[in-house]
């Protein structure tokens, strides 16, 4: 079964059950997304992917809305551009997007100008949380996309160490009573880092290099390998800078992992780079 809809005056056929975003992709219409990830249930919270749907009073989130036969969709109308720009301005004026290159790119594309909300505009600025050796949580960079909660929960890890707590502008990602991670249910799989779109969740190694001004992505080499710890066969992507592993990810399209790993694959890499003391790398 397939459905036929019209996007920006072009007809497109997609499989039944596809979303408007799927249909946009098929047509090569680039749609900004922040809270969407192929491996997670859509929460349609960021609203940056909204499109205009004929007959619908409000704009609709393309990431979650099922495509239906006869739909007439506009992805670049003045209303769509306005809402996307405003959403990006709202985020850029309240959240530190300095380590979110995608969001920055969208801001440029839609002409978002966060400065017009003034210097007194409320932000989510807060101290970075460093309470364990493996990763840091900098919620001043959090856009509340819910991805980490989903990855920690039923979409991947089923650990449930974190949830959205509080309400409104004060809502944030938290453990129970905001206890440090070592007291929480966290198992350090790092899957929250893997899905974070803004660098709010970051390997300690990356955080420390950035603090020292030594994080140089252009000097990094990515090498895919298979994790050697168990028989599952997860693909690891080793991010190597100056001959030292600085981060480990897994490709989202990998059949085995869908981008997710466990603590050993994600963080247990030191054994491949133990060197005599005189060769100790800065990482």
């Amino acid at each position: 079964m397939s459905v036929e809809l019209t996007i920006d005056d072009r007809a497109v056929h997609v499989e039944d059950g596809s979303t408007i975003l799927d249909a946009c992709k098929q047509l090569g219409v680039e749609t900004p997304t922040l809270c969407f990830l192929e491996s997670l249930t859509p929460v349609n919270a960021c609203r940056v992917c909204v499109v205009e749907l004929e007959g619908s009073r409000a704009l609709v989130p393309s990431c979650a809305r099922r495509a239906e036969t006869g739909m007439v969709v506009r992805t670049d109308s003045p209303r769509v551009r306005h809402s996307r720009k405003m959403v990006l301005e709202f985020l850029a004026s309240s959240v530190d997007l300095s380590t979110a290159p995608e969001a920055q790119r969208y801001c440029r594309r839609y002409g978002a100008d966060p400065r017009r909300y003034g210097t007194d505009a409320a932000t989510v600025e807060q101290p970075v949380k460093i309470d364990n050796a493996l990763y840091v949580r900098d919620y001043a960079k959090c856009i509340l996309c819910y991805k980490c909660v989903e990855a920690c929960g039923t979409d991947a890890q089923n650990t449930f160490a974190i949830a959205v707590a509080g309400r409104g502008f004060g809502a944030g990602i938290s453990t129970e009573y905001d206890v440090p991670l070592p007291e929480s249910a966290c198992v350090y799989c790092g899957n929250c880092i893997g899905v974070c779109p803004t660098g709010a969740l970051m390997f300690s190694s990356e955080h420390e290099l950035r603090q020292r001004g030594q994080w140089k992505e252009e000097r990094q080499k990515k090498t895919d390998t298979i994790c050697s710890y168990c028989g599952v066969g997860c693909t690891l992507t080793l991010h190597v800078q100056d001959n030292a592993i600085v981060k480990v990810t897994s490709p989202i399209e990998d059949d085995v992992t869908s981008g997710h790993l466990c603590i050993k694959g994600r963080f247990g890499y030191q054994y491949v780079q133990n060197r005599p003391p005189e060769d100790d790398s800065p990482a």
């Binding site: 349609n44 959403v87 709202f90 509080g166 409104g168 809502a171 938290s174 129970e176 009573y177």
Partner: protein, 579 residues
């Protein structure tokens, strides 16, 4: 599920309260326990005044819900505390009706007293402003509303709500029938409609509601008969009925009055609706700030059950129905129907994306009819007199009567029932007109999510269609009058703060947009620079458009309505920005 807990353990008292709240309810699959979360958190809050880490761990363990998840739910609700505080809390309503009636003086008096207190959004006592709600946690928990309140916080200053109107149909029993007596209710014609409904059969009931052309009174004006029919015919079971009694729209108190003063009518109306759609388990979700409504409805459900009007076999008809009362916990957003479902299911009260709509995928993912109290309260009338007869009241497009909550600068604030089509001016005259010696400056119609109109609107007939044509809404029936001494800019600022505080935070346009709207209004009220003012007015328009277009639910979509309408209709800020 393997859950991990911090070292905090519950005291014997805490365990007893949790066990007591869950007694007899833990049947079946562990995965089906989550819906008990809010009631058990309420029980802990009521007893200890807060939810401590040990109690939270024990709740989590008992329900099989992770502690972080429970914490996320608890921190969603303003009435649930996750830090220790005083057992006795005084909540002062400083919302739009009360702020012009002495709320600040109450706050000042409380600040210099030894009472623990905090500000509160609208408590639904606007007709007798200023209002307070006093909650006391402990072995014998209590909640008392005082309106009007004085700094002495003496409950004796409270008065009842005035009730009037030109056609008292929904309000006919108020003041004449004991709301706590099933016998009195039946002697006054109560439950005749249920007998009639059982004769009509479900299809007959739905046909009458469709013939009546009853439109929902919650603000969206959806045809009730269509909802009933869709769920009655839905192939998936069980079918649920939810009565939305989370009335929290600032300025609104109609559903509170129906529940407090005619609770059996609400229970009977729910029974008829449940019968029509084949529902065996219904819920009524009453906002946490309405202790008396919850008490009266709880009593009515128990009485009806004891008399065989609820239970396994209602009136020997073979129909089984239980009604469960759920209490909200301080979250306006839970009046949004899908947020309300999530709240009942034990989740954070965040709205869901629609579609799918509740009639197909509602409470627990099942076909659900959700209507507010006033809408359902029309069902006994429709069944008794027939849909065609019902539709003779009002106008063809807006049948029946409508409840209006009059407050502010009106001579006799209160709850008024008039046929649809009555003009706004005539409605206000029923309440004695504008308060003596005052000049009417503006009227808030429909609530904080409604519109601010000028006195020119007095000739407008109160119907869905006339309101729509005038770019206004009847919303939840709010008619709040402001005289020329009221600082309307302060009213707008409070409305903006209301939405900022009540946004659930799920979607960006509403979570940040309501903050930016509030900031822009704050600047407009304080900043004299004409260039900056013009920029801020234009910015407000841009923010409002994005919230309306891109927010997930009605809260964000309407959060700019009153502000934009005031700027448009009253020219507020305009003179200054042009100077």
């Amino acid at each position: 599920m393997d859950l991990h807990f911090t070292s905090a353990t519950a005291s014997a008292d805490e365990r007893a309260v949790v066990d007591g709240a869950l007694a007899g309810k833990l049947n079946g699959d562990g995965r089906m326990r989550r819906h008990l979360l809010l009631p058990v958190l309420h029980a802990v809050q009521d007893r200890f005044g807060w939810i401590g880490p040990g109690a939270l761990n024990y709740v989590s363990e008992s329900l099989g819900v992770a502690p972080a998840d429970v914490y996320g739910v608890a921190t969603f609700y303003a009435s649930l505390k996750t830090a220790p505080g005083a057992a006795r809390m005084v909540y002062v309503c400083d919302d739009i009706a009360c702020m012009n009636a002495g709320a600040e003086a109450l706050c000042a008096a409380l600040e210099s007293s030894s009472d623990s207190w905090s500000r509160s959004p609208c408590l639904g006592l606007c007709d007798r402003a200023p209002a307070v709600l006093i909650e006391t946690a402990g072995a014998s928990t209590s909640a008392t509303a005082i309106a009007p309140a004085t700094p002495a916080l003496d409950p004796q200053t409270s008065r009842p709500t005035q009730v009037g109107g030109s056609a008292r149909r929904l309000l006919r029993r108020i003041g004449r029938t004991d709301p706590q007596s099933l016998e009195a209710y039946r002697a006054d014609g109560g439950y005749a409609a249920l007998f009639k409904a059982l004769e009509l059969q479900p299809g007959g009931v739905i046909a009458e509601v469709i013939a009546a052309n009853l439109l929902g009174r919650g603000g969206a004006a959806f045809p009730t008969g269509r909802k009933l029919k869709a769920v009655a015919n839905a192939p998936a079971y069980p079918h649920y009925l939810v009565c939305n009694a989370d009335e929290s729209e600032p300025g609104t108190f109609k559903d509170r009055m129906l529940m407090e003063e005619d609770p059996f009518a609400v229970v009977e109306a729910m029974t008829i609706a449940a019968y029509a759609i084949g529902c065996r388990q219904a819920y009524i979700y009453i906002r946490g700030e309405y202790p008396q409504a919850a008490q009266r409805i709880g009593h009515a459900i128990a009485q009806a059950r004891a008399a065989g009007l609820l239970g396994d076999d209602v009136l020997g008809s073979g129909m089984g129905l239980e009604i469960e009362l759920r209490r909200g916990a301080g979250a306006y957003i839970c009046g949004e129907e899908t947020a309300l479902f999530n709240s009942i299911e034990g989740k954070r009260g965040e709205p869901r994306n629609k579609p799918p709509f509740p009639v197909e995928n509602g409470l627990f993912g099942k076909p659900t009819v959700v209507n507010n109290v006033e809408t359902l309260a029309n069902l006994p009338l429709i069944v008794t007199e027939g849909g065609v007869q019902f539709a003779r009241v009002g106008t063809p497009g807006s049948t029946g009567t409508r409840l209006f909550c009059l407050s502010g600068a009106v001579t006799i604030p209160g709850l008024y029932e008039v046929p649809h089509g009555t003009t706004l001016g005539a409605l206000i005259e029923l309440a004695g007109g504008i308060a003596p010696g005052r000049r009417l400056a503006a009227i808030l119609l429909g609530g904080a999510a409604g519109t601010i109109v000028t006195p020119d609107a007095l000739s407008m007939p109160l119907t869905f269609e006339d309101a729509r044509a005038a770019g206004a809404t009847l919303g939840s029936g709010v008619v709040m009058l402001f005289d020329d001494r009221v600082d309307l800019r302060a009213i707008l600022r409070r409305i903006a703060e209301f939405f900022r505080d009540e946004s659930c935070g799920q979607c960006v346009p509403c979570r940040v947009g309501t903050v930016r709207q509030s900031e822009a209004l704050q600047r407009l009220c304080c900043n004299g620079d004409p260039m900056q003012r013009a920029r801020d007015i234009s910015l407000l328009g841009e923010i409002g458009t994005a919230m309306r277009d891109a927010s997930i639910c009605g809260l964000g979509q309407t959060a700019a309505n009153a502000i934009e309408s005031a700027i448009r209709n009253l020219g507020l800020f305009a003179a200054e920005s042009n100077s």
